[in-house]
């Protein structure tokens, strides 16, 4: 199958092609959205008022685990697409469930991290820095949450309908979204946590 030059299942209908292109353009809008969040965060980063600064509260160990969980989930999501292309429904479902579990693990760690910060005296209302920090990470976290809900709905549809042109294109789009969240996280890890610890 893989050696033939054949249009992948998710690209076969014209509507699917347009859906995928439309989603890429939506991701373009998402890039603008996150760029705005990052830029605002950089503006507010040092406005800590009377509250703590980044290096006072960040726990790199937890953040590393989160990074590991999310990056692995992107990998397993890729394996799910690979199974889908091979018409292997069982493999597909297995890898998606693992992806979602890793995503849920990431969320659990992140929520714990937030609770820890609140105990350290860094709440949403503390300063310009905390406002920028929590909304940037919160928006990313909200995207992950939405992604888990969305892909759960797709699992039900895949179980009910199997791998068809339509379910394949729907899941392919969800996978683009999932990978995108990973890319955003890499920027968060680098420019929020690492930069925050160093500078």
């Amino acid at each position: 199958m893989s050696s033939h030059v054949e249009t992948p299942l998710e690209y076969r209908s014209e509507q699917s092609q347009m859906n995928i292109l439309g989603f890429w353009i939506f991701l373009g809008a998402e890039i603008v959205l996150f760029s705005t969040l990052f830029a605002s965060y950089f503006v507010l980063e040092h406005n800590t008022a009377d509250g703590p600064a980044g290096q006072d509260i960040f726990i790199l160990k937890d953040v590393l685990i989160e990074t590991f969980l999310l990056l692995t989930s992107s990998f397993t999501c890729g394996l799910a697409i690979h199974s889908m292309r091979n018409h292997n429904l069982k493999g597909l479902l297995t890898w998606i469930v693992i992806t979602l579990l890793l995503g849920a693990g990431f969320l659990y760690m992140e929520i714990n991290e937030f609770i820890h910060y609140v105990h350290e005296g860094a709440t949403l209302q503390t300063s310009g820095f905390t406002a920028g920090f929590f909304t940037l990470l919160g928006t990313h976290g909200a995207h992950v949450t939405l992604g888990i809900g969305w892909i759960t709905l797709l699992i039900i549809q895949l179980v009910k309908r199997g791998i068809t042109e339509k379910t394949a294109s729907k899941f392919f789009i969800a996978s683009l979204y999932w990978h995108f969240l990973d890319v955003v996280w890499i920027f968060i890890f680098t420019f929020v946590y690492l930069k925050g610890m160093v500078m």
Binding site: M18, T36, V43, L44, T126, G128, F129
Partner: protein
């Protein structure tokens, strides 16, 4: 705020409006019930995914909002018509200029332009609908819900009153308590998400759904400008989404994004607002340029002069539009270097814009000009808009701007840009494409009344503002003393605004008159036009084209007419695939509107309960596998025979 306090009380003007709104609502509901039209409304309009009907709904909403924003404008003109008047108190004046600005830009200009785009673009490229018809309906309903939410503010809870730019720290909770500015943050957010979806939709539509043979350089100019506008929407609206989110957080949850205390930064709001706000100006003005290009080429009976330079200049304007935002606040403490750079980028915009003006002029040169109402708008646009453009270059000079900044000169400038640039264009477009939407023309004689009243009223209203502005009158000033000497200018301006309003009334009368009496047999191509939308019946059938045309050159329809190749061969007919109606868009938008309403009043428990509706809508949408339906060949044949006579 508790339930029993939400009705605004104490102002006779607002009290009268509340009664009027109540009576109108009861009257409308009674009328629809009496005429037994509920089912028709639901199945033909509320659940439609047809781009033409969605476009018409956008246009109707836009005209209604024009009325609302216009009344705000007239109230301001009445208040300032003489020194020391008290038609409105200062607070009420603040609310009126805020809602006037927001409504005119976001709820009048945007829906009118997006409405025309919806009707025309798929027809111009030979498509059956947009790429995502259901999403298109959702865009409309989100816009509509946002507009309604914003409009109820003045009777429920109070209007926003910090200006359409809502600068911080003024717009923060500390200086503007109450719910007014919550409306600003939330209603615009809802409408903005709809606009973003429209942008994505039209980018994909124009990229993927053009008729065979329609290459990039064969696209009609209005399609080009719509495409580039859609790209600016995708690039600029998410910035505003975040700015409004921050504003919502500052106001509802006490964060410190834009506050003065605790490390907030009010200038962050200004930058984010104008990073969206300046491209927004081009989002509304570029489609308008496209409309003028179509109208001028049609009524000069010539192809558009300098097509390629037109495309390049539109793209150039779009690119530069992202690089000029700081010119909105030269006076707020930037370094000289920063101001100089933004002066340069701003003045550079005059170059591609000038190219366009000359292209239109050269299109007119040696043309056989037909002075239809539509063409008159285009002709009036060129000098009026040039005044707006030239004063814009004056404002672009940072050093000189210290004199003009926040004066009535600026107000006059942007009205001279936006009214000829957007409103004239929409009027030209309405007269031009009306037959394609409804199958009859608007009356030309009433149209000329509309035109002359509006153009004369417009110049009388806004020209004096340049002079009082240069004389130092600041914008948003609710009253002034006699010794300023502005009374005569502003009195003259107020009279002008009444003539302007009479022009608008003439349009409304024209629509009414034409619906009742205009002749219905105008044919498919009443203006001898050049582009594909005139190749199909008027009004356009729901499937647009029985057979998708093959395009061989620019202005293809014009050349096909010359060769008499516009007919339809029966053998070419094939079943047409169409999407089904859907209740999802209106349901989802209503749920979002309800959540928005509760958030405005900070009733968080209710908001959480209501958001269950959103979740249900999204889940239902995910499980929707509706594939639409096919129109059989005999049905197509019957409909096409009705206007073409016999098929070949």
């Amino acid at each position: 705020m508790s339930f029993d306090e939400i009705l605004v009380t104490g102002d006779p003007l607002i009290f009268a409006s509340q009664i009027a709104i109540g009576l109108t609502m009861i009257g409308l509901i009674a009328l629809i019930t009496y005429l037994k039209r509920w089912k028709w409304l639901w199945s033909e309009w509320f659940t439609t995914v047809d781009h033409k009907k969605i476009g018409i709904m956008y246009i109707i909403s836009g005209v209604l909002m024009f009325f609302r924003g216009g009344v705000d404008g007239l109230l301001m003109k009445a208040q300032t018509s003489r020194p020391g008047l008290e038609v409105l108190d200062a607070q009420h004046y603040d609310e009126i200029f805020t809602t006037h600005g927001v409504i005119m830009i976001l709820f009048m200009a945007m829906p009118l332009l997006i409405g025309v785009m919806n009707v025309v673009v798929p027809l111009q490229i030979g498509a059956r609908d947009v790429a995502f018809p259901k999403l298109n309906a959702l865009s409309f309903w989100l816009f509509f819900v946002g507009a309604m939410l914003f409009n109820v503010s003045f009777v429920l809870g109070g209007s926003p009153d910090a200006g359409w730019t809502s600068y911080f720290p003024l717009a923060g909770k500390e200086f503007t308590p109450g719910v007014g500015n919550n409306y600003y943050a939330i209603a615009i957010q809802i409408a903005g998400i709809g606009t973003l979806a429209t942008g994505i939709n039209f980018v994909v539509t124009i990229l993927k759904m053009r008729a065979p043979g329609m290459t990039w350089m064969r696209m009609p100019m209005f399609t080009w400008t719509s495409f580039i506008t859609s790209i600016i929407i995708v690039a600029a609206f998410p910035i505003f989404t975040i700015a409004l989110l921050y504003m919502t957080f500052d106001r509802l949850f006490g964060t410190h994004f834009f506050t003065v205390a605790s490390g907030g930064d009010p200038m962050l709001w200004l930058n984010l607002f104008w990073l969206w706000g300046h491209p927004e100006v081009y989002i509304v003005v570029l489609p308008a340029f496209g409309m003028f290009s179509e109208v001028i080429a049609t009524f000069a009976r010539k192809n558009l002069f300098g097509y390629k330079s037109m495309v390049v200049s539109v793209a150039g304007i779009a690119f530069l539009s992202m690089l000029v935002w700081v010119h909105h606040f030269y006076t707020m403490g930037n370094s000289a270097a920063v101001n100089s750079i933004f002066s340069l980028t701003t003045m550079m915009i005059a170059i591609p814009t000038g190219v366009k003006i000359f292209n239109w002029l050269f299109t007119l040169r040696k043309g056989r000009i037909e002075f239809s109402t539509s063409m008159l708008w285009a002709l009036a646009f060129i000098p009026c808009f040039t005044i707006g453009g030239v004063t814009g270059v004056m404002l672009a000079m940072a050093a000189a701007d210290y004199q003009y900044h926040n004066t009535m000169f600026l107000v006059a400038h942007f009205h001279y840009v936006l009214i000829p640039g957007v409103v004239f264009a929409v009027f030209a477009a309405l007269y031009y494409w009306w037959p394609k939407m409804f199958g009859f023309k608007l009356n030309e004689k009433i149209g000329k009344w509309h035109f002359w009243l509006f153009v004369i009223g417009f110049n009388m209203t806004f020209m004096p503002m340049f002079f009082v502005g240069l004389d130092g009158m600041s914008r948003r000033l609710y009253t002034y003393s006699e010794s300023t000497g502005w009374g005569a200018w502003l009195g003259f301006s107020a009279i002008g605004s009444l003539i302007l309003a009479a022009g608008f009334a003439a349009l409304c009368y024209n629509i009414y008159w034409s619906f009742r009496y205009a002749p219905r047999d105008v044919g498919s191509d009443p203006w001898h036009a050049r582009t594909l939308e005139w190749m199909t019946a008027s009004p356009a059938p729901h499937y647009n084209f029985a057979v998708v045309p093959e395009v061989e050159q620019r202005d293809d329809f014009w050349h096909k007419k010359k060769r008499e190749e516009t007919g339809l061969k029966k053998a070419d007919l094939k079943p047409v695939h169409m999407p089904n109606n859907s209740w999802m868009p209106i349901f989802l938008a209503s749920a979002i509107g309800l959540v928005g309403f509760f958030l405005v009043f900070e009733w968080f428990t209710l908001a959480i309960i209501a958001s269950v509706g959103i979740v249900i809508g999204l889940i239902a949408n995910s499980f929707d596998y509706d594939d639409g339906y096919h129109i059989p060949v005999d049905e197509l044949e019957e409909e096409e025979r009705e206007w073409r006579g016999d098929l070949k």
